[in-house]
Amino acid sequence: MEQNWQLARKRKTIEHRARILHQIRAFFVEQGFIEVETPARIPVNAPELHIDAIPSDGWYLQTSPELCMKRLLAAGYDNIFQICHCWRAAERGPNHLPEYTMLEWYRRDCDYQQLMSDCEELISSLVEHETLTWQGQEIDMTRPWPRLTVQQAFLQHSSTSLSQITDANFFSELISNEIEPALPPNKPLFLIDYPTLQGSLARRKTEDPGFVERVELYIAGLELANGFSELTDAAEQRQRFVKEEIQRQESGKPPCPLPEKYIDELETLTNATGIALGIDRLVMLLCNQPTIDEVVCFTPEQL
């Protein structure tokens, strides 16, 4: 039998990917972060209406390492990062794999503004020139990258006013169909300050409690990272989890217990921030590859 050329032909990308991972680790270590490893198989994930975990012998594979990492943060670990695999059931497309690689980092005593400058510095350190080309699209990487509030984005790009939206599904459809396609493809962009109904684990803005301090980073239309100033109010966190869990069950999903240890230990956390960045999509961008299939050794279909 001939060598598996579909695997062999990815070699240059896989080598580049390895260098990127090495550089990311060096970036965080240099800034005094601790690299941590938390279990990939956990009793329960944070309830999310649209994220389904894959069951594993009574427990679940993590959809994100956020719960364990924030418990470390609450225990006094100031600056931590992790590169790990996460699993999300039935997510498969040109930019999605059900098993993928996530980078998460957390800081104490700062907010999402810091995360945005972290993103700028980290990704700039991985790009060789000030212009990046992805699939024919030139992207101007010079810093700072523009920040656009969700409110401004809806005013500029949607026929619907943000104040009229009370349904989370309707919101996400408008983001997908109207906002994302209208974002400038030639410059990275931070979409910030989401309505509280899209808050999940994010802290409310003190000056405007209808919104939370949440940020999404887009580059060339690819959604790369999602972060927040962390919600540290245990009572409000419990309320949001309960609401999310009710919505999950109403849409026919099996009941799931709440992450009680996480909620308890949240009380000892003040003023923290954290972000999750999709490594595979970052590699797509930096290696100029059109799909996520091209940046991993194996897709599920190749196994």
Partner: protein, 187 residues
């Protein structure tokens, strides 16, 4: 029934009692939002193309079409001619109906033709077909890296990426599902 996670390019489903094939497929899922399954569908009877977006939880009735074993004979001005292997009856599929599947037809190849009454409205290709390379750059001496690739055009006009050791005249096997190079064929 199919669910949203079964949707993919080439899947055939019933909509309003008529068979449709997914011509293009995209999966998007913004941030913490719900998944959208964006499909371009082709009505297999009328040929009309349209966009439709589905959401998690929706289900689809598979399109069970009558399949007839036929042999591909030749191409003429009207299209691609196939012959029923039992009745010797011949039917013609237009270039429009075949779309890019036309690139994987080899003379005398056995295929399944999807029927609507006595009309052919689609084709099921075998998973692998062998096609001969008619144009590609020569193998540069010293280029031994296993993963290197270059474009090659096969006898049907289809162009794909192949390993650098594939030369003009080489018979290669193509996976018709991914439409990618699989291996060289020993002759």
């Amino acid at each position: 029934m199919y669910s949203c996670s079964d949707l993919k390019k080439g899947l055939k489903i019933m909509i309003d009692g008529e068979p449709h094939v997914i011509a293009q497929y995209d999966f998007t899922k913004p941030g913490k939002g719900q998944a959208l399954y964006k499909c371009k569908l082709r009505n297999m009877i009328t040929g009309s193309l349209f966009d439709r977006t589905y959401r998690s939880g929706e289900s689809f009735e598979p399109a069970h079409l009558e399949e007839r074993e036929m042999q591909y004979l030749y191409q003429d001005d009207s299209g691609y001619v196939f012959m029923d292997k039992k009745s010797y009856e011949q039917i013609t599929l237009t270039e429009e109906t075949l779309e890019t599947e036309k690139y994987f037809l080899v003379d005398n190849m056995d295929v399944e033709i999807l029927m609507h009454g006595d009309r052919g409205i689609g084709i099921s290709l075998p998973n692998f077909v062998n096609l001969r390379v008619i144009q590609t750059d020569p193998w540069v001496k010293g280029d031994t890296a296993a993963g290197n690739n270059k474009p090659a055009t096969v006898e049907t006009g289809y162009t794909l990426a192949v390993p650098s050791f594939v030369e003009e005249g080489t018979l290669i096997q193509i996976d018709t599902r991914s439409r990618e190079y699989a291996t060289r064929v020993k002759e």
